[in-house]
Symmetry: C2
Subunit: 462 residues, 2 copies
């Protein structure tokens, strides 16, 4: 078995990227081993690894040629913001850390960013802003890196209006396990040149190729925005309002659903107060438009729909700081729940079935006498269900609950993951809840891209 202390490999890596860009030794590699996966489910990382930090596509290619030849596992690492252990090294191997490849340039005429894999979402947002442009989706933590966002087809709260990463990526440069560089797409709106291997690589979680660069579509800014909290007495009243809003032609930037207990826990953690005294179930709706007058017209129409659907008194935030405060409370829920959490799920159903799904989750919750806080992206049917720690429970019970949540999701025409992907921790579930022919085709696809199985082994494929 290859080991990080194999001197010739370390020497060869040093000769590719420079000695100071190679990190190894227990203790020194510690900061490169984990992601945001909750402790109870995350795999124990293998510490017998070398971290290597290339500065260019040529260096990535040289590293992969070496790894391919010597059959050394390679674990690509972005911002480490994943929730399913997708970048945790599970074997002795190389951690390919892309943080030095962080250039972003903007082509204003084509409204496209050219971003290296290690640039953060924050870098991309800032670069677009400096060019008076805008990256519409907001796929989560701003310290996520572009390569990871694309490899995991990140989603986030704005998919209801603007879609997920896949909809914005127009071209990629990716290095195959052999070291060969593939360039697919470009600064293009249309491309029908053969099989769309770019789409296959998007969402492949680092198992088919290492994405080194991407062309990402930008849009003009939406300078005017309003954030609203719409309280309801009941979950069903809140959730039934969502399709009604969307059918009017209103296109909110985000439609989030939260309930009183988790949102108050989150607010308290931030030393803030949740501003709605009334109601148990809330829609947080962001509107953003090009035109201020139009924004107000849309806002009025939206409030009418909500009142007709039985909402309580809405809270309308127009000032930037007020809007930010609401979104900070919403964003903090995961962190607030994390210490007592076993797992965060991201099941997704047809949007109109969210209410049904949550009722079924309540039934599961009651039958196990546990609390399963659930909230999420109501406009796109994507709900984060949290499995919480209970005194005296073992893995088998948590697994049983997860399987039950997945089963009711599938019965409603849904899927086990809408955002987070499979990573390390969902492989058993993928196998259990997928058709064997689909699994077989995936394995064959993996085989043709990565015959030696060096790229992110133990991930995605069951």
């Amino acid at each position: 078995m290859w080991s990080s202390i194999d001197k010739t490999v370390v020497e060869e890596l040093s000769s590719i990227v420079g000695e100071d860009q190679v990190v190894f030794g227990v203790g020194r590699v510690e900061g490169y081993l984990l992601d945001e996966t909750p402790l109870p489910i995350r795999p124990e990382p293998c510490r017998d690894v070398v971290v290597v930090k290339p500065a260019s596509t040529e260096e990535v290619s040289a590293i992969l040629r070496l790894a391919y030849r010597s059959k050394i596992p390679v674990f690509p690492r972005g911002g480490g913001t994943g929730l399913v252990g997708g970048c945790i090294p599970t074997r002795s191997g190389i951690i390919l850390c892309l943080e030095r490849m962080n250039k972003v340039t903007v082509d204003v005429d084509n409204m496209m960013a050219e971003a290296e894999a290690g640039a953060t979402l924050h870098d991309l947002i800032e670069a677009a802003d400096r060019s008076d442009l805008f990256f519409p989706p907001h796929p989560g933590d701003e310290y996520a890196q572009i390569g990871g966002l694309i490899a995991c087809n990140a989603g986030g709260a704005r998919a209801v209006r603007t879609g997920v990463m896949r909809n914005y990526v127009r071209g990629i440069e990716a290095v195959l396990p052999t070291g060969d560089v593939l360039r697919l797409g470009g600064k293009l709106i249309k491309d029908n040149t053969g099989y769309d291997l770019m789409q296959l690589i998007i969402g492949s979680e680092g198992t088919l190729a290492i994405i080194t660069k991407a062309f990402i579509r930008l849009y003009p800014k939406l300078p005017f925005s309003i954030t609203m909290i719409i309280p309801f007495d009941s979950r069903s009243a809140a959730l039934k309002t969502v399709p009604r809003i969307l059918r009017t032609g209103i296109m909110p930037l985000a439609v989030e659903y939260v309930e009183r207990i988790p949102i108050e826990v989150s607010a308290a953690r931030l030393g803030l107060e949740w501003p709605c005294k009334e109601g148990e179930a809330f829609l947080i709706i962001i509107l953003a438009e090009q035109d201020e007058e139009y924004l107000y017209r849309v806002c009025e129409k939206l409030l009418d729909v909500c009142v007709e659907s039985g909402s309580l008194e809405p809270l309308v935030a127009e000032r930037r700081d007020e809007q930010d405060r609401i979104l900070r409370i919403r964003s903090e829920i995961y962190t607030a729940l994390k210490p007592s959490m076993v797992d965060i799920l991201d099941v997704t159903v047809p949007p109109a079935s969210i209410g049904l799904l949550m009722d079924k989750i309540d039934e599961i919750s009651r039958s196990y006498n546990t609390y399963l806080p659930a909230y999420g992206h109501a406009g796109d049917g994507n709900i984060h269900v949290h499995i919480m720690r209970e005194e005296g429970w073992d893995t088998a019970i948590y697994d049983e609950i997860r399987d039950k949540v997945y089963s009711v999701t599938l019965e409603l025409g849904g899927v086990i993951t809408g955002e987070h992907g499979i990573g390390f921790v969902r492989r058993r579930s993928l196998l259990r809840f997928s058709h064997p022919i689909y699994i077989d085709l995936m394995k064959k696809v993996k085989q043709i891209f990565d015959p030696n199985n060096i790229l992110n082994p133990d991930k995605l494929l069951p």
Copy 2:
């Protein structure tokens, strides 16, 4: 070699779909052999074929099981509106005609259509309309069928705002060559369950699987629209205006570019007159919005940008019949040019490079002393260049011109096809203008889906 007169195969097909749904014999199959590919480049169809018309996914599956077992080529056929010979049978085999599978239902709450492969674009548009919903893109001829539109990832004039077919397809049911049925995605906005094989099948031109059904996202109607013709003295003035418009945040439904000669030929063919006396180069811009007042504000802003960019007097059509007349003239160009046409290209470059591309095409045109009419989807960098018939020229010269157009396109960061795909006629070009590693991966992908090479042989893969 298997032949259509093989009695047992015909009998077996009849037992699957019923005797009256199996068509064979020279003369009787004639209506199923061609598509819209110009005569000079289209392959000679093989007439030794059996046309079979299944009514269900189960029947498609049974037909493919038979074909797989007996290694019989299968040519899927939709509306026959393709321009690259993608559905023309080039060997003895089965023509799988999906026209009987034409059901469309609309799920209003989820704003999704469930459409069978043989439903036409027209059927989909009508079904959406009956539910007070709207299918935003308009990927070409309304008698194209859903299966073909997805298999070819059809584009059209509205990609600038709404994207191509790929952006609307949320789930598919597809039958593999073995007869196994694969169901991918669903009525879902988000899905990150493993490799996105649905995206791989979209655009695979019937070579990987037979699409039998799809879930297609719909949107609320855009009830208010305006169509404008903006004349300019020169091509460069017209084309430079396009990125300026898009950067203001105006989102036209379509931005088409046409020049005087082809548009007048087209108008004359329809017995109409092109309504602009001034100008040589024209942008046809469609605006459509939810809100009438906002539409007028956008229209004003747009006209300001055009005037600042040096446009001549714009023509603004608000009445439905006036708007339709302009679009009919635009749509007729292909038919008007077809009798004297050798090939219609659909090269695509970064949108801001369209002007450069057209200047380079003019250079090619001058150096061969031939007219290469070009027009197209200016908002998405997709230009239709027509190679016209010239007295005494042979295939070699046409091929040379096509290769030159492709070369200048690639130099500008573009691709040889943005819309029409590879089909039969572009395979040589795909091979010539693609990286060998990409071609190799495509062949391996084909191999894992279709090891016996029965699905649409001689198409897409060089």
